[in-house]
Structures are given as C-alpha cells and as structure tokens.
C-alpha cells in the first residue's frame, strides 16, 4: 500500500496535476462560499471538460472541488449567517454568534482546522478500510435511516435557548414546510392549495438563506433605524493550540460520526453535521452555552461534514454504487474514460485510485493553508459599514436563491422566510430547530414510510432492527433530557422554598 501511495504522490505532484488540484480547490471554495452555488453545480459544469483530460486529471479536478466546496460554505455561514449549503446550516448556530462577539477570525480558524482534520482523517479511513466500510454501509436500510433521522430530530428540544416547547414548535413547523409539494412516495400534492409553484415544494436553499441571512439583515436594519445598532470590534486572533487540545474529543467524536454517516448511501453531510452538533451538546458539561457562540459548536459540524467527503467515496470506489449526487457525477467521469468503479478498480487501476487518495490528502492540507492565509483578508469584510453591506448581502441572497431553479418565486420565498425568521427571533423561537426539521423531516418521512411498507404497517417490527432501535432509544433520551433537567431544577427550587418557609 505504501508503495502505491508513493506512486500516487509522484503522479499528483506533476506540475499539471498539482495546478489542476490547486485551481479546482479555489473554484470549489468560491462555489461553496457563494449561497445558491454548490460543489455539485460546479462538478456538473466541469464534467464535460474532464472528457478532454486524462482520467487522473479529470477525477482529481472533481475530487478537489468536492473537498473544498464543503469547507467553503462555512465562511459566509460564520460571517453573515448565510450557509453556503445545507451542510453548513449547523455551523451558523455558533459561528455567527462568535462573529457578533468579535471573534470571527477565531471562528473561521476553528472551521478551517476542523474541516482539514475531518477531511484528512476521512481519507485515511478510506485508504485503510474502504471495502470493510462499504459492507457496513449496506446494512443500513430504511428502518436504520429512520432511527438515525429521529435521533437527529430529537435535538430540537436542546436548541431552544429559553423554552423547550418553542424549540419543538419551531422544529415541527420546519417539518411541516418540508411536507409541502408532491410527495416522493405517492405522487400526491400536499398543502399546495391549488398554487402551481407549491407543487415542487419550497427549495431548501432559499428558505435557509432567508431565515438565517435576510432575517439577520432585517433585524440589524431595524436596530440601525432605531439607533441601537452596535458595531463589534473584530479581533484577528486565530485559534490557539491550547483551545484545539481542549476540543479534541469533540473533533474526534464528530470525525467518527462523519465517517460513519458519510459511508451511508444518500445520508449526506448535512445529516452528519446536525448529528455531531447534537452529540456535542449531549456530551457537553455546559450544554446551555451552545448557540451562544462557542468553538465546540463550530468544531462539531465542520469536522463531521468534511469527514463525510472521504467515506462518501467508499461505496463508489469499492462497490461502484454512488452514495450521493456528487459521487454520481464522479461515476459519470469514471465512465467517460471507460473505467468501471467496483471491487476490481483497486486491482485494475491501482495507480489512479491511490493518486485520487493522495489528491484528497493534499487537498485537505492545501485547504488549511489557503484558509489560514485568507482569514485576515476575509475578516476585513466585517469592518465595512453595515449600512453599505446590508443591501449587498440581500442582493447575494436574491441571486443565490434564484440560481437554484432559475425562478423568481424562490427569491420571493427567500424574503418571505426572512420575515418569518425575523419574527421567530423576536418571539424566541429557535431558527436552528426550524432548519433541523426542514432538512431532516423529509428524509425521516421517506424512510418511515419505506419501513412501514417493509414491516407491512406493523410499527412494532422496528423492535426487530437493533441498529434502528439503538438510535430511537438514544433519540428518546435526547428528547427527554432537557425535560428531566427542568423537572430536577423545579424540584430543587421547590425544596429550597419549603425549607426557607419552614425556617
């Protein structure tokens, strides 16, 4: 294996290959950063060009775009609360509050570092255990996926900073928005009320952009007009080594979650980001601090979503099954060059496979270097007068929403959810819980219905699936934990009151 890796390294450091790797990383970073644009979009755009390249060059290009676009989305998520893609939505929970505290550079530092670590470790796992992970991934069927989604959704009780029930209401509202449109399973139009544009449902990205970014601009504009807007001094301090050591277990745990979920077909980076955020909250000694701007809240989702990049390639390379849209595009690139991914790939095209591995490893190192150099420049954006910046952000929100389906209705829905988000902030309904329900709700529904078909409508048969049951039980525990905490607190206060009155 070492010998193959060395050959792969020699191939990747050839001037043309390294140039393609570098340029693709930058392009992926730009597409990942801009809302409405994504790595998938860029890969689809460049796919025809890969035909004119050698298989190594074409695949290195796609792999580099994939790796860097996942990190790119965290930049705007942290600076302006605009997640570049759904997998960066969880990064906004603590990323933007850190920016508001003047710690944008530190937040970006955590995102870069954790993205690079997550991505790097993921490739190592891919190199060492691709065939074994591929076998494990195939054990996951609809009941297991439903269990996983239920576990992810259970965090909505912890995301309500002041009220558990408001967190649940926000999450359920997000789940409702996810049900609008023609159902994937039955083809029945739900909650469309005769409006044609609702038949395809709301696109995720405009809602996420609206509810996070536009609502933030509205709130800040309100403060500017009411003379209560405060400008924060931004420190250019990068994350220290001491802090990295402090959050090491969050990084390790999130990386493991990322590896596992990344290998599951169609699970995706957003699911892993939410689950790892959930786990970071659950394992924390101070869960109440999440959402207020702490580095663990960035480290968890950023490590996990990048840790999916390597293992997401597992089923493609080892079995020839694409587990996501991105890997499906890569399958297309393989086939353009007459290569069939699968068990024989490691034997017939060993050099190509190990060159790809090396490209991903180097790509993650480059991401760290590029990211670290650009932090100081990016942070300067925040020193621009917000009165100047706010319409620019709204223009980006508009064009980013439009780019998804080339439809002005998406801009309208973006602004509509901007207003919804404004009122949610006003009345303390947690926006993260809403987004959680919006993203995980449809996945949970699909897998629930598939499971019920599998079980012949007998819900009790979930009990025959141990992996699914583990997730469901963990989900119930997560749902109940904040309630138990409140009950304990209530009992303690009552006890103190009784003791005081007795005295």
């Amino acid at each position: 294996m070492i010998e193959h890796l060395f050959i792969g390294f020699q191939t990747i450091i050839e001037p043309v290959n390294i140039l393609i790797l570098f340029v693709s990383l930058i392009m992926g970073l730009v597409f990942g950063t801009l809302p409405g644009l994504s790595g998938v979009m860029l890969c689809s755009l460049v796919l025809p060009f890969t035909y004119y390249m050698s298989p190594v060059q074409g695949l290195v290009m796609l792999v580099a775009i994939y790796t860097s676009s996942v990190y790119g989305g965290s930049i705007t998520a942290i600076l302006f609360r605009i997640p570049g893609a759904p997998e960066n939505a969880a990064t906004t929970f603590d990323g933007y509050p850190m920016t508001q505290k003047g710690k944008a550079a530190e937040a970006l530092g955590v995102a870069i570092l954790c993205s690079a670590i997550g991505g790097f470790l993921s490739v190592l796992i891919l190199i060492v255990a691709a065939p074994q992970i591929a076998k494990f991934a195939l054990v996951f069927g609809p009941p297991e996926f439903f269990g996983l989604c239920f576990f992810g959704l259970s965090i909505m009780t912890s995301l309500g900073t002041k009220s558990i029930v408001k967190g649940i209401i926000a999450g359920l509202a997000g789940m409702f928005i996810g049900t609008i449109g023609v159902t994937e399973m039955t083809g029945y139009p739900r909650y469309t009320f005769g409006l044609k544009f609702l038949y395809s449902g709301f696109a995720f990205i405009p809602i996420i952009i609206g509810i996070f970014a536009a609502s933030q601009v509205f709130s800040s504009t309100e403060k500017i007009l009411g003379d209560s807007f405060k400008t924060t001094k931004i420190a250019a301090k990068f994350i220290s080594f001491k802090e990295i050591i402090r959050i090491r277990w969050t990084i390790v745990r999130s990386a493991i979650i990322g590896f596992v979920i990344g290998a599951l077909p169609m699970a995706g980076a957003s699911l892993s980001a939410f689950i790892s955020y959930n786990e970071a909250v659950r394992w924390s000694k101070k869960p109440e601090l999440f959402g207020t701007g702490i580095i663990e809240g960035i480290a968890a989702p950023e490590t996990a979503n990048n840790a999916t990049t390597g293992t997401a390639m597992v089923t493609l390379l080892a079995l020839g099954i694409p587990g996501s849209v991105m890997t499906a595009i890569m399958l297309g690139a393989f086939q353009v060059h007459g290569i069939d991914p699968g068990p024989l790939l490691f034997i017939e095209h060993t050099d190509l496979v190990y060159t790809l591995f090396m490209a991903m490893l180097l790509g993650n190192i480059f991401i760290f270097v590029i990211g670290k150099t650009q932090v100081k420049i990016i942070v300067r954006l925040l020193n621009i007068d917000y009165r100047l910046l706010s319409p620019i952000i709204l223009i980006f929100c508009a064009i980013g929403s439009f780019a998804i389906r080339n439809n002005i209705i998406d801009i309208t829905s973006m602004f509509f959810f901007g207003v919804v988000g404004y009122f949610m902030r006003k009345f303390d309904y947690p926006i993260p819980a809403f987004v959680l329900g919006l993203i995980l709700g449809p996945i949970a529904e699909k897998n629930y219905l598939l499971s019920m078909r599998l079980f012949d409508s007998d819900i009790l048969l979930f009990g025959t699936k141990p992996i699914a049951m583990v997730f469901i039980v963990l989900g119930v525990i997560t749902l109940l934990m904040p309630i138990v905490r409140i009950c304990k607190q209530y009992m303690r206060t009552r006890k103190e009151q009784i003791t005081e009155s007795n005295v």
């Binding site: 597409f31 644009l37 979009m41 755009l45 002041k162 009220s163 029930v165 408001k166 649940i168 209401i169 359920l172 509202a173 789940m175 409702f176 049900t179 159902t183 399973m185 039955t186 029945y188 739900r190 909650y191 536009a214 509205f218 504009t221 309100e222 403060k223 500017i224 007009l225 009411g226 209560s228 007068d385 009165r387 100047l388 706010s390 319409p391 620019i392 709204l394 223009i395 980006f396 508009a398 064009i399 439009f402 780019a403 080339n406 002005i408 801009i411 602004f415 207003v419 404004y422 902030r425 006003k426 009345f427 303390d428 709700g441 529904e445 629930y448 219905l449 019920m452 078909r453 409508s457």
Partner: protein, 160 residues
C-alpha cells in the same frame, strides 16, 4: 410578551387542527392507509397541537409582566426593508436583475442613513454589475434580464 405567546400558540393550534384535517382528507386506498401521503403530516400536527397546548398552559401560568422575548420595540422599522424587498422582487421580473439591484441598493443605503453619495453610486452600480457578470459569464447561470428596453440594457451591460 405573554400576550404574544398566547396569541401565537392559539393561532398555531387552530392552524394545526385545520392542516390536520386537510391531511386527513387525503384519499388513500385502504391497504395503504398506514403509508399514505397523509400519515406523516398527521403525526407532525398531532405533536404540534400538543406542543401548542403545553405552550399555552405554561404561558398562562407565568406571572404577568414576565419577559419572554425582546418585545415589539421598533417593529415598525421592519416595514421599510420589507417593503423595499417586496418592490425589488416584483420589479426584477420586469426590469431585470441589474437595474432592479442597482436601484434597490441605492435606495436601501440611502434609507438606512448612509450619506456618502459617491460611495452609494459606486457600490450601487458596481456590485450588481459584478455579481451579474460572475453568474452569467463565469458560471453560466442565467440572471433575470427583464423585458423590453430593460432587457436591452441588461444585455448591453453584460456584453463586456
């Protein structure tokens, strides 16, 4: 704020009952009744109805004047940005992304109290132009060009 929470929970409660009813009306063959299109929304709205009841009761039990949110201070200031955005979206269909964004950013900056005229003009012209150029020329993503004369203007700008 207590009043706001009671009102919101009340409205959501009524809306959930209506939407549950809509889900219940989805016709599903008998053999698929547990896997039909209405089952998931019914689960969601049952939970939502319960959550609204809990919120209503807990809010009622709270002492008067207990602050549960940031209040409606300055909510009237929301009207200006939202109205501008509404006009921006409506206008974009007719006048295209470039012209509508230029006017929108100019008016927005002026309304929020930015007074450096040269800067307002430069930003209003440069940002939409650059964004349009990047999306259209570099990324091959179409942008709304408007109709009639505005379409011509957009095309002239973007032929650079």
């Amino acid at each position: 704020m207590k009043k706001a929470d009671l009102t919101i929970s009340g409205i959501l409660f009524l809306a959930s009952i209506y939407l549950y009813y809509v889900a219940d009306c989805i016709s599903t063959p008998e053999q698929f009744k547990d896997v039909g299109a209405g089952i998931w929304p019914k689960i969601v709205f049952t939970c939502l109805i319960l959550a609204c009841i809990v919120l209503f009761i807990t809010t009622l039990r709270k002492k008067d004047g207990e602050k549960t949110g940031s209040g409606k201070e300055g909510m009237t200031h929301l009207l200006m940005p939202v109205s501008l955005c509404a006009v921006y979206v409506i206008a974009m269909k007719w006048v295209g992304f470039l012209v509508s964004s230029m006017v929108f950013s100019f008016v927005y900056m002026y309304f929020v109290g930015y007074r450096k005229k040269a800067m307002i003009v430069i930003i209003s012209l440069a940002v939409p132009f650059l964004v349009g150029l990047i999306f259209l020329k570099l990324m091959y993503i179409p942008i709304p060009k408007g109709i009639g004369i505005f379409k011509t203007i957009s095309e002239i700008f973007l032929t650079f």
